[in-house]
């Protein structure tokens, strides 16, 4: 047998080789010839690195705000970077651990207690004079303040709150003989309306849900419950009020049939994320959702006749209660341009000039952090264009909207609360059992944390 010589198509392999070389050359040319995507507009200024999680149409809004800031002063240039949500936290944490964090970051995940506890963030009240700090505490909406604070310090300035309210389809109401101008004042009444609006297929399956209260975290505060005692600083889980809230929700589901509801609901979410909103397609007559839906309806279903109203409390319950979250700006420890970052935060959030900042809130459709912004002309204009937005503004000053408890194990806590809710809503555990299991889990987590040397001041309590 001959040696390993190949007379096999030398032409073929030569062509392939040439092709590879040409390709490599082309790539190299492209690499070095084409200009970069972004270059600094004000290269002589000090750069302030700003990371955020917005993409798509929101990114454009962010860049407009950044441009405005850059035009408004001559010292700094804010350089924005969009770090999409899935990777944002990891990239941020690694950059801090690596000693090269951004100067300011816009976040909306529930990170403040944990990160503040680990010394990751700079207390922003240290950057203010005592008078400024007092003023901010006085004027900011309670919910906005609660989100950003941890152990008496402010770590995040809220630049947009998420508030929930009821949306209802007017046509459906009229068909059922209900008066859209007389919204229910109590939750029980609203549920009754819902029952009149349910629709079923001949086989008895649901084809439309009139109204089904969902979301333990949304309704617990309305029943006088909640997950945190803000005065004493303790976590509350298996309290009588929470139990009542959960039982109420579970009872509504039981009336329709757990399986039935699961079937119906899973048939709706077709994976386009939050965009595929069943309310638009008529699967729900009345539903509870956040303020961003207003803009969405205006854009994708402008002819839809609908109205918004605050979630009615149960008889004897707390008015305008619910869960709140939002986006906020933080400054990590180790940031090089703390001064510039703080300037930018004051500019965007409206601490410095509420009237000017009102325009930014209007661009983003965000709820403002203090009344001065809400009453500014530019924001009023925005609300006039989207009148249904007003409901959310009305709920905003309420003391009863609760953010997530500010404990370092916040994310774990929230995950387990959601699981408990899920188990009860599916009927696999009774509300009592679900809450008991939840309390046990959190107790165990706290005990483990103590064992590992974390000192958490909060303990789970159930008022009996």
């Amino acid at each position: 047998m001959n040696g390993p010589t190949h007379q096999a198509k030398p032409r073929g392999s030569a062509i392939a080789l040439c092709g590879a070389v040409v390709f490599a050359v082309v790539v190299l040319i492209l690499v070095f010839a084409l200009p970069g995507a972004t270059s600094r507009k004000y290269p002589e200024r000090t750069p302030v690195r700003f990371w955020h999680m917005w993409t798509a149409e929101w990114k454009a809004v962010v860049e407009r705000i950044v441009d405005r800031f850059n035009e408004s002063q001559v010292l700094y240039e804010v350089v924005p970077l969009s770090v999409p949500g899935t990777a944002a936290d990891s990239k941020f944490l690694l950059s801090v651990a690596g000693g090269d964090p951004p100067d300011v970051m816009a976040q909306w995940n529930q990170v403040i207690p944990k990160w503040a506890d680990s010394g990751l963030l700079i207390p922003l009240n240290d950057l203010m004079s005592p008078e400024e700090w007092k003023e901010i505490q006085r004027t900011t909406y309670p919910a906005a303040l609660k989100i950003g604070m941890y152990k008496g310090n402010l770590y995040g300035v809220t630049t947009g709150l998420d508030i929930y309210a009821c949306y209802c389809r007017l046509a459906d109401l009229r068909d059922a003989g209900l008066d859209p101008n007389q919204f229910p004042e109590t939750l029980e009444e609203l549920v009754h309306w819902g029952e009149l609006l349910h629709k079923f297929t001949p086989e008895g399956h649901l084809s439309r849900i009139g109204f089904l209260p969902s979301g333990f975290v949304t309704y617990a505060p309305a029943f006088g419950g909640g997950f945190y005692d803000w005065t004493r600083g303790t976590v509350l889980l298996n309290t009588p009020e929470n139990l009542r809230a959960m039982t109420f929700l579970v009872d509504q589901r039981r009336k329709l049939g757990f399986e039935n509801v699961i079937r119906f609901e899973s048939g709706l979410t077709v994976g386009l994320g939050n965009v595929q909103w069943p309310f638009i397609s008529g699967a729900y007559s009345i539903t509870v959702d956040g303020q961003w839906r207003v803009e969405q309806i205006a854009r994708f279903a402008p002819e839809l006749e609908y109205a918004t109203f605050p979630i009615p409390p149960p008889k004897g319950g707390r008015k305008d209660a619910g869960w709140v979250n939002g986006n906020f700006m933080i400054i990590p420890r180790g940031a090089k341009q703390v001064g510039g970052a703080w300037q930018f935060i004051k500019f965007w959030s409206g601490i410095e000039n509420p009237k000017r900042a009102a325009e930014f809130y209007a661009w983003g459709g965000w709820l403002p952090m203090c009344p001065a912004i809400a009453e500014a002309p530019k924001y009023r204009e925005f609300v006039e264009k989207n009148p249904q937005f007003k409901t959310f503004l009305d709920v905003l000053p309420s003391e009863n909207i609760q953010p997530t408890p500010p404990v370092p194990y916040q994310v774990y806590l929230w995950d387990r609360i959601t699981r408990a809710d899920d188990a009860a809503q599916r009927g696999s555990l009774t509300p009592q059992a679900a809450l008991e299991r939840l309390e046990k889990e959190i107790d165990r987590e706290i005990a483990t944390r103590r064992q590992f040397g974390y000192e958490d001041e909060t303990e789970v309590k159930s008022r009996t």
Binding site: L81, G282, Q296
Partner: protein, 317 residues
């Protein structure tokens, strides 16, 4: 080998060896597995394959269809339970401008350039280094070979989530943070997956061929370069394909190590169309289509490299 008439017997390894040593290179061709089918068999095969194809091609069809729709068409309207149904697969009217808008929204030229560069670098690095290492494990004899091989396999068994921080710290320590180096240099150090795959292929090549070459005076590296590499072309091409796809789709790597958006890749650009509360779905699908269809076409055109055996090597005895 038993003679005909005794029915088929198990082909023993020694028989195979004997057979292959008498083998001419050119006979390792398309293989008689690709035998002639009669009419009915062919029709059955087509029918079966067509049915099986449907779920596999659906993502692509849906993606293309959504990319050509108006915003209003994408979201479920009154009475519709879902935005996706077989009826709505055909967009009407067809909105080609989604593609134009998608191209304008992100700096595609930059991203494409960066992606191609990374792909070229990692493919070359991974394939070459993995081939060399694989040959070492497959055909060279040295002390600790099996142990080192198991060690290499073991490196794949640890979830990367927990080594991310030390690796990141390492790259910072080396001063490579902010450059493409963390993404390129490790590719030149052999990838366990490819090494394993190539080792399997190298081991199926009969020892006799290499021995014959050595008798002719070829050293190890010549044997490797001129005998083994060409014989393993389909496997090499497969590794190249996998590496190319891996780098093409890699969103997190560049994002983590680089802060300058002018060096980001197409995968990052694609993420820019998604957003939690809205997102430009039509443009996203247009972007995703532009991101995907060229690869599919590329694969279609080059599949003979992976799958066609070594018939092209001809060769004489």
């Amino acid at each position: 080998m038993k003679h005909a008439g005794e029915g088929l017997t198990v082909i023993t390894r020694s028989n195979m060896r004997r057979l292959m040593s008498g083998l001419r290179l050119g006979e390792r061709d398309k293989g008689i597995a690709a035998r002639r089918l009669n009419r009915t068999q062919r029709v059955c095969a087509h029918a079966f394959l067509l049915v099986l194809c449907i779920p596999f091609i659906l993502p692509l069809v849906w993606m293309l269809s959504t990319s050509l729709k108006e915003d209003s068409q994408i979201y479920a309207r009154e009475g519709q339970q879902s935005a996706i149904s077989l009826k709505t697969l055909i967009p009407a009217p067809i909105k080609w401008s989604n593609y134009a808008e998608a191209v304008k929204t992100v700096p595609i030229g930059t991203y494409l350039r960066n992606t191609l560069f990374l792909c070229a670098a990692t493919v070359i690095g991974a394939v070459l280094s993995s081939a060399v290492v694989a040959y070492g494990f497959a055909r060279m004899r040295f002390r600790g070979r099996e142990a080192l091989f198991m060690l290499m396999i073991a490196t794949m068994a640890l979830p990367g989530q927990v080594t991310m921080i030390p690796v990141f710290a390492l790259f910072r320590f080396l001063g490579w943070y902010g450059t493409f180096l963390p993404l390129i240099v490790p590719a030149f150090c052999g990838n366990a997956f490819y090494v394993f795959l190539l080792r399997q292929f190298f081991r199926t090549i009969p020892e006799e061929l290499a021995e014959a070459a050595r008798i002719d005076g070829a050293g190890d590296s010549r044997v490797f370069r001129q005998l083994m590499l060409p014989l393993a072309k389909p496997a090499l091409a497969t590794c190249a394909l996998f590496q190319f796809l891996g780098t093409w789709n890699d969103f997190f790597g560049p994002l983590l190590y680089i802060n300058d958006p002018s060096r980001y890749t197409l995968a990052y650009g694609l993420q820019q169309f998604m957003s939690s509360y809205g997102g430009e779905w039509a443009q996203l699908m247009a972007g995703a289509s532009m991101f995907t269809v060229p690869i599919i076409i590329l694969f279609f055109l080059t599949q003979r490299t992976f799958i066609q055996g070594i018939a092209t090597t001809g060769g004489k005895a």
